[in-house]
Subunit: 363 residues, 2 copies
């Protein structure tokens, strides 16, 4: 089907008609949704997950429930996905919630906050620890709900033209870095820069900025940062995990037959494993390639990490006073994280460290 | 529906009739499957995942595709799930593949081998690194295929009545420990014991055995081991992750309408995230409870870990010579693991260690 036909036949009219049919009808109703992504087509790990979800949903419904995926900018710009879903411009969107901390910093808990959880811990909190209920309750104010659909894992700390050895080196640093991390780093003298993905490379090249973070080896390599910045820092302490979500307009969700609701939710849940596996599959080779090409790997010092941690805690206290939603979500999140950390260091951490040590001793 | 009715109306006859209908029929065909689990009803984290999958499949098909879950022993004993699926006694089964290493040690790669992958690494290999294709190609010889459906994460090293401080302490130790780990530990003088879950406690109490491993804090606490063994060791190096799978009889799979195939596979994929999250949710509190009750947490020493690692490598070399399927799967698995380890230590490992350190410094 051509996109033009799709739009003509589908969209909101399509789903409203479908929603009128009983969920358990003998023959399934036809439903078409438009899904707008925050990501450009070039990021196959991200938009690819949305494409896969659309395909799974079609396969599971004998092609009766069709989701057409649009990349960033095709319907609305990448940072306006929440608004587009909230307003019903589209039925669904793929995005990451920290893009919207300008509306309320509590949005961060639908994604990640600095010194937050890793992938497993986030999934535990979200699916079992009340995170999904708490966050989606908050999202009701925006007429939508969120389904995690992929996770990059812990991201890298970004590309730096010069080494950052002490906390003092952060002063005046022009660093392309996203939302919450920007707010935290500003407390330590960093000048955070908001620059769209495609514009980072020239800014680094010209020296308009001193450093930039994006995702991890695979995505970063695509944007070519290694050619204009030598030092690659780890870890991205602002993204211990980074879950993208599918946002669904609440009215459209309620109009959806129950069986299609189950299919959609399952497709997101499956993708949350498989698309994360895709990142874990492509990153090792990309990292090897970067190192072979001369990239210098560096770790943030303990002093820098501790200073950033303290700045994050101060930031959370400030936001907690201003935003009751932030305070409520932060209380649940941080208590849960503490319990998870106490357990993860016993079995997972001990095992991972032994295996990591073995691998390095072999070389 | 009563179980009796279900069996009468369902089973293999049901699915064969359903398979004859075209996949994209206007009204969906009714299909009923029986699924036998390797686990007892009491293990809600394990059998619960099968129940959830059955519910999701029913929800997503307007109750047309029904899966009835039977606990271990209701149709066949827990260790005969592969045979029951292979022979068509049931359409599907929930199990963990290392139960079947007596048939061929290559079965281990459908689950875990000592000093193998963690959860994320296994998922990357399985879904993206060719693992699923390789293993399911091997399973064709058993008329079935496997879908991972839940993961316990890294397991604990078990309960010991006395401390194990040196490699010499392993000599003569009567240790209730499963398949591959048993074979590896035997090389170091351990006398591995095969004892069903419910019989471990009395054996430990009477001193018939010196030690026993089961899963992790939540499941172990249920069986009460803390009352009869004081030392709880970490990590379970034989289970860096432990993925249970849904096995499906190949003929039944091929007879299944395409949309039901997609629904079933998605339900397993979703569960692989959600049921793992369930383990990560329940283990922290169970660990706290055990420690508060007097359990002494111990780590296996580096010397013991290294000796076990060497024994495992020797065991793999032996099996590789005898079993070409083991050799082929081991080659893929071990090369992949090496690449994953090199990457995971850069971002995930650095981040996890910092967070773990912070949590312990706070106390």
């Amino acid at each position: 089907m051509q996109r033009r036909d799709f739009i003509r036949h589908g969209g909101i009219a399509g789903i409203l008609a479908a929603g009128a049919a009983p969920a358990m009808a003998q023959s399934q109703p036809s439903v078409t949704w438009r899904l707008t992504s925050s990501y450009p087509k070039s990021l196959d790990t991200l938009v690819g997950a949305a494409d896969n979800i659309a395909k799974r949903v079609a396969d599971a419904t004998g092609n009766k429930f069709q989701i057409k995926v649009f990349a960033a900018g095709e319907i609305v710009p990448g940072l306006q996905v929440l608004d587009a879903v909230q307003n019903g411009t589209v039925e669904a969107g793929q995005t990451i919630m920290y893009y919207y901390i300008g509306k309320n910093p509590a949005m961060g808990f639908g994604a990640i906050v600095p010194f937050g959880m890793n992938v497993r811990q986030h999934n535990a909190w979200w699916y079992q620890g009340g995170g999904s209920e708490l966050f989606n309750d908050f999202l009701k104010g925006y007429n939508c709900q969120a389904f995690p659909c992929l996770n990059t894992g812990t991201q890298m700390g970004g590309w730096f033209k010069k080494e950052i050895k002490t906390v003092a080196d952060l002063k005046g640093l022009k660093f392309r870095v996203g939302g919450i991390a920007g707010a935290v780093l500003q407390r330590l003298g960093v000048v955070p820069q908001q620059i769209a993905g495609g514009d980072i490379y020239p800014a680094l090249e010209k020296g308009t900025i001193d450093a930039a973070e994006w995702v991890g080896p695979y995505d970063d390599d695509k944007l070519g940062f290694a050619k204009v910045a030598k030092y690659y820092y780890t870890p991205g302490w602002w993204e211990g995990n980074a879950p993208s979500v599918m946002l669904v307009n609440q009215k459209q969700w309620e109009a959806l037959p129950k069986d299609y609701q189950a299919v959609f939710a399952m497709a997101c849940g499956e993708s949350n494993t498989v698309a994360t596996a895709r990142y874990d599959h492509v990153n090792p080779a990309a990292m090897r390639k970067l190192i072979a090409g001369g990239t210098q790997l560096r770790s943030f010092s303990r002093d820098i990490m501790d200073a950033c941690y303290k700045a994050a805690i101060d930031q959370y206290a400030e936001w907690g006073e201003k935003f009751p939603e932030f305070k409520k979500l932060h209380a649940s999140y941080s208590k849960y994280l503490e319990e998870e950390l106490a357990w993860f260091r016993v079995a997972e951490g001990t095992y991972d460290n032994y295996m990591s040590g073995r691998a390095s001793r072999k070389k």
